[in-house]
Subunit: 199 residues, 2 copies
C-alpha cells in the first residue's frame, strides 16, 4: 500500500513497528504527519530523539527517568521502608494513580520466564537484593502481573527475600486474572493494594 | 499520566495528536520508542522529517507524491481520458487496489461543506476545471464518499462540468461484496434495489 510514495511508505513502516499498531493505523498516522505544519513535524521528530536520549534508568529503583534519580526516589516524603516491585515502568504509572501509595518502587524490567528463556539474572533482581542491605526496608509488595509468569516471579522473589526477614506481600486478587496492570482502573488497584497479603 | 517524566509525556502528546490515537495508545507508543535502539529512533525521527519535506502535491492531479509528477500521472500506460475525482489521497490508495482502473485521478483535498465553512474555492476544483481544457478527457468519475457532503460535492461537480460536454459518472451504490443483507442499512439497501440490473 502506497509503496509508490516511498517516504510515506517508509514513515508508515516506522509507525507500524510500535506496539499495538497495525498496518492500516500506521498508514493513517503517516497521513496525519503530512497534515502537520513543518514546525509540528520537527517537534515530533525532536520529541522522539529527546525521549530516547534523555530517558535512562533510575540508579536506585530502575524506573525510567530523565533526571538523576526518578521522581519517586528523589521525593523525601516517600516511605523508603516499603518497596513495590513491578514488572515495568508502565506499572509504576498505574500504581502512582493510587494516591494512597506512599512507598517506593523497584522495576524488574521483565519477569522470569523459562519458556521465553528469561532467567532470574536477566531481570533487575540483583539491584533489588542490593536494596535489602538498607535496614529501613520493612515490606516488599510484589506487584507483578497476575499471569503465570508474574506469579512465578512473585514466588521466586518471596523465597529470595526470606533471609532478610522483611515482610513480603502480594497484591490481592482484585486485579482480573490474566490482565495487565496497565489496564486496571484506580479503584481496582486501590482495592488490590488494600487487600495485599503475606506470601 | 507520566507528567513526571517530562520527555516521555511530551512524546506521548506528540503521538496523541495523530488521528485516531487515544491517550493510552499514545503512551504505549511512547514507551515503544524507548524500547528501540538509538539508531531505530533516529531513523523514525528522520522518516517524519523526510515525509514532511519530500512529499508535495502532484501539479497535475493534486495527489501526494515525492517525485515531480505522481506515479499515476507519470505512467504513460494510464488513460488520461478518464479522471476519477476523489476527496483525499487515501481514496487514491483504495482505488489503486482495484487493478482494473487504468484512468488517472484528481484529488480535491476536501468536500464542499457549508456547515464547516468549506466553500467550492477551498477545494481543488479550479485545478480540475483547468484539466478540462484537455480535449482528450472523455469521462469524469466522481468518487467522493457516499456522505451528505460527498453527494453535494458530486452534484456540484456534475453541474460544473456540464459545459465541457464530458460524461460525468458516480460510483455505484450497493451492498458490499462479501457483505450480508442483515448488516446493510436501509439507505444502502434502497440504493442497491434502485440500481438493480438484469442478470
Amino acid at each position: 500500500m502506497a509503496a509508490y510514495i516511498e517516504s510515506l511508505q517508509h514513515l508508515a513502516e516506522q509507525f507500524g513497528q510500535l506496539q499495538g499498531v497495525g498496518r492500516k493505523s500506521a498508514m493513517r498516522m503517516a497521513f496525519s504527519v503530512l497534515d502537520m505544519s513543518e514546525e509540528e513535524a520537527a517537534e515530533f521528530a525532536q520529541a522522539i530523539m529527546d525521549a530516547k536520549r534523555k530517558i535512562h534508568l533510575c540508579p536506585v529503583c530502575q524506573n525510567l527517568t530523565d533526571r538523576e534519580l526518578c521522581h519517586v526516589c528523589e521525593d523525601p516524603q516517600r516511605d523508603r521502608g516499603v518497596i513495590c516491585v513491578v514488572e515495568d515502568a508502565k506499572a509504576v504509572l498505574s500504581m502512582e494513580k493510587v494516591r494512597e501509595y506512599r512507598g517506593v518502587y523497584h522495576v524488574l524490567h521483565g519477569v522470569i520466564s523459562p519458556v521465553n528463556g528469561i532467567t532470574p539474572d536477566q531481570i533487575r533482581l540483583k539491584e533489588l537484593l542490593a536494596r535489602m542491605e538498607d535496614e529501613e526496608v520493612r515490606e516488599v509488595i510484589v506487584a507483578t502481573n497476575p499471569t503465570v509468569e508474574g506469579e512465578a516471579t512473585a514466588m521466586y522473589i518471596s523465597r529470595l527475600l526470606k533471609p532478610f526477614g522483611v515482610k513480603v506481600t502480594r497484591l490481592a486478587y482484585g486485579i482480573p486474572v490474566g490482565g495487565d496492570l496497565e489496564y486496571a482502573d484506580e479503584v481496582t488497584l486501590y482495592r488490590a493494594l488494600e487487600g495485599r497479603r503475606d506470601v
